[in-house]
Each structure stands twice: as C-alpha cells, then as structure tokens.
Amino acid sequence: MSDLVLNILRKVQDRDGFVSEDALKRLSKDLKIPVSRLYGVASFYAMLHTKEQGRNIIELCGSPSCYLNDGFDVEKLLEKEVGVNFGQTSKDGKISLFKTSCIGCCDQAPAMLLNGKPVVNLTKTKVREIIKKCRS
C-alpha cells in the first residue's frame, strides 16, 4: 500500500503535521522522483500542507447546503473566535482555519471537519466550545 506517492505524502503529513521541504528532498532520493514533481503533487491538494500548521485543523464546509442552513454566519464567528482569517494559523499555534468545498455532511449542515472528523449541525455555542477545547 505504501508505494503510492499520495499515500506516502499523507503519511509524512500525519507524522510531521505538514510536508516539509526536507521531507520532500528525502522522499525524492528514496523514491527516485524529482523533488519538483513531488512538490507539484504536495501543493496541488487542499488537504496537503507544505507549511507548518496549527495543532488543530478546522476545515469549514463551503457548500450551498451549508450556506443555506447557516443562520449565524459561522465563517465570521470562527474568524472572530480564533482571531485570524481563513488560511491562517492562530498566534499560539493551536488552530489553523481552512475552508473546504464540501465534506458530504449536507444533511447535517452547517458542518466542518475538526482534525479530519466531522462536527455537524453547528451552532454558536458548539463553535465556541470547540474553539475553547482546541485552545486547552
């Protein structure tokens, strides 16, 4: 299973939190694949990160279904509570905020992924609790 580049890159990210330049260089030697191609792959996918990320990763769903069920502007609330814009990491290094196209939880909207796991039927209280937990 581990001979596929995408699986290997994901494993590196699971281990290190992101896919660093050094990791790509090492992989390039091991796999005999030019580092430029590996970087091309790593930078293509939204869920692979080539820069260091926060300890917790929040990926907010941006689908029309979530948009239609978002009665409190979850996007703004997240930015306010975390204190950064989407695409950024909080100063304490604890939370990175991302937007994602759709996480397939349209029947439990609005929803997001917290470290890869869905958190659904978001409310203001739920969002605040999650941020608090991420900070502790």
């Binding site: 995408l6 996918y45 869920m47 689908s63 279904s65 239609l68 759709c102 909207a109």
Partner: protein, 370 residues
C-alpha cells in the same frame, strides 16, 4: 432499501459459476448504468476491459464523492461496505484484475479504518487472489473525474487528460482499467445475485432549505413533488440546484428523469437536489458556487483556470450591487465560453449555475445591477 441488501459473498459465487462473459451479459440485461453521473452502461464498460489484451488490469472504485449536495456514496460506505467490496471483487474477477483500488476522498478519511477491516474480512472469506487498496485523496474535486483519479493514483497532480484512449482500454499505468462509482459497484453485486433487483431505483441526496434532509431511495422517474414531500421544504419553495455543477430551475412538478431535467437545461448527475426557499436570491447562491469552481479548477486548461476566476470577480460585483449592465452581459458571454471550450467535465459545467440562473431567474440578477 434495496441498496442496503447484503449479498454475503453469494453474488461473487454466482459470478464465478456464471463466468465472466455471462456476468457482463447479465448486467446488460438487468440494465445497470453508472451512478456517478454519466449513466454509462456498466456491462459495456466491463466488456471493453474484458476484451482488452494486457498482462495486467485494474479496477478502481471511485469514492471521491465531491459534488456539493451529494452524500449517498458516504451512506453506502457507512452502511453496506461489505456489498461494495464484493462488487469490486466481482469486477476484478470479470476483467481479470489482481489489484483494485478504492479512491476515497480525503474528507472521508475517517471512514478508512472500518472499510479496511471490511476489505480484510471479505477478501479472506472470498479466497480470491485480489488486493483491494485504499488510496486516500487529499481534497480535490476534479479527482472525481476518471482520468484525474488515474493521475492521482499514479502519483501526479490530479489533472484530467484528453480521452481517448478511454480507461477500459488504457488507464492506470497504461493498463485496461475499470473505474466505477461506489453505488454502481454495490449495485453490480446486487444485480448479479437478486432476481428481483430493480434497475430504476436511485439514491437521491436532498439538502438545503428542508426539514428532513437525507438520502432517499426512489425510482428515477419519481415526481419532484414526491421527493419534496419526503424532504419537507422549509418556507416557500423557489429553486432547486442539482449540486454545484447541474444548474438550477424553478419548481416544476415533473418526473425526475435525466431527460426532463435536461429539458430545463440542467444536469441530473447523481441525483443531488439542493432546495432553495424564496427568501434567497439566486445571485447569492451563484456566488457561493462561483467560489467553489474558482477554487476547484485544476489549472490545466485556460478557459476554466482563468474563466472561473473572472466569473467569481463578476459575481462578487453583482452580489455587492456594484456591477453594470455590461458586466452582466460579459458574465453571460463568459459563462458560455467556459462551458464550450473547457477540457473536462468540471470546466464544461463550471458555469451551468449562471447559465440556468439567468435563464430561469434573470430578475434576481437584474435587480442587483447598479
């Protein structure tokens, strides 16, 4: 629900007794068509790969369900993975593949552990010499396109390429490859085993402004009023979007066949219906969808890469009531150019929401003009 019926390895056994050619004939006879959106006859696809001469062949299960508003494959992955794996084994047996892949979208990574367990158990009991590996995607909508999946598994950027050659002739690493969607492969196992298997049933994913969103199994020719009766719209109904790529239409109580949906200039796709109530402007929805396409364009062909960004720019102007009449005309012209000149299905459908939005709800757009 028919899709939840378990085949308990009896479908594989029956397939082995029938032999590859008879299984293909059976699928043709039962009328199984692809459930990923293109409705290509499954038996025909398998026959291409069966006929192709090669030392190695592959089967890929497309579990990259990325279309916003679609969650029926997730429903199968969670509730009937055993039958899906059996479908993959049957496909592998029929075409002579020893290695199969499940391309699982990164957003469903949390399902991987359980699917792996099921793979192990089903393969062990089947005593078949086939490996089924999970490749976890990493957040790319275009990787649901079959040639992009191939590139992604091969370890390249997941960008589509021109067809032909089609994957059943030359696919993964240049070898004949069957790529079928989760629902299709699950149905394949059920169609082989059950005499009363009904080819007209589809899984509708219904979401948006409804009180009872979810996956509903209904005949493909079900009336829209029946779908909505189940989903319970909230507020007064205004429009329906068929995912992000399928465009929108006002409510018409028609049979939901692909032909009827196409008659509204929309694309039926994989039966996702997003319900919109009359408190919303179609412009705001189109802005959300324009953001999606600008973000998900893979960047390979110019019309889609540059066009989706310009569309988003114009949609933002419209949304903020800063667009002129000329901007609207430009938006409409651009929408058609992108649709007509993009390389793959993503670009070709990246402006359906705007084209159909303007066709059915032009007043919403004109209202926002300076």
């Amino acid at each position: 629900m028919q899709i939840l019926k378990k085949t308990e390895l009896a479908a594989l056994k029956k397939a082995q007794e029938l032999g590859a050619e008879k299984v293909i004939e059976l699928l043709d006879k039962k009328g199984l068509v692809g459930r990923g959106g293109a409705s290509f006859p499954t038996g025909k696809k398998w026959r291409f790969a069966f006929d192709a001469k090669a030392d190695e062949k592959f089967v890929i299960c497309n579990a990259d369900e990325g279309e916003p508003g679609t969650f029926k494959d997730k429903f199968i992955l969670e509730n009937n993975p055993e039958t899906l794996i059996e479908g993959i084994l049957i496909a592998s047996y029929v075409v002579g593949a020893k290695r199969a892949f499940i391309y699982l979208r990164g957003e469903y990574d949390y399902l991987k552990g359980n699917i792996e367990k099921v793979i192990k158990s089903v393969i062990k009991r089947s005593r078949l010499d086939v490996s089924v590996e999970i490749v976890v995607g990493a957040g790319s909508y275009v990787c649901g396109e079959e040639t992009a999946i191939i590139k992604s598994i091969e370890g390249f950027r997941g960008q589509p390429y021109y067809k032909p050659p089609f994957p059943p002739v030359s696919g993964l690493w240049g070898k004949p490859t069957i790529i079928n969607n989760v629902e299709t492969l699950t149905c394949a196992a059920q169609a082989v085993l059950f005499d009363d298997w009904n080819s007209s049933l589809r899984l509708f994913s219904v979401s948006g402004c409804v009180d009872n969103p979810g996956v509903f199994e209904l005949p493909v020719s079900v009336r829209l009023s029946k779908v909505l009766e189940l989903a319970k719209p909230r507020g007064k109904l205004k429009a329906l979007f068929f995912g992000c790529f399928g465009g929108c239409m006002p409510y018409v109580d028609m049979e939901m066949t692909p032909e009827n949906v196409c008659g509204q200039d929309c694309v039926h796709g994989s039966c996702s219906v997003i319900v919109v109530d009359d408190s919303r402007s179609i412009v705001d929805l189109c802005y959300v969808i324009a953001k999606f396409f600008a973000y998900e364009s893979c960047g390979k062909c110019t019309p889609c890469r540059e066009g989706t960004v310009r569309v988003l720019f114009l949609m933002k102007k419209l949304k903020d009531m800063k667009a002129t009449k000329e901007d609207l005309a430009l938006l409409e012209e651009l929408a058609h150019h992108i649709k007509n000149t993009s390389l793959c299905g993503l670009g070709q459908s990246a402006t359906n929401h705007i084209i159909t939005g303007l066709k059915h709800f032009r007043e919403d757009f004109e209202e926002r003009i300076l």
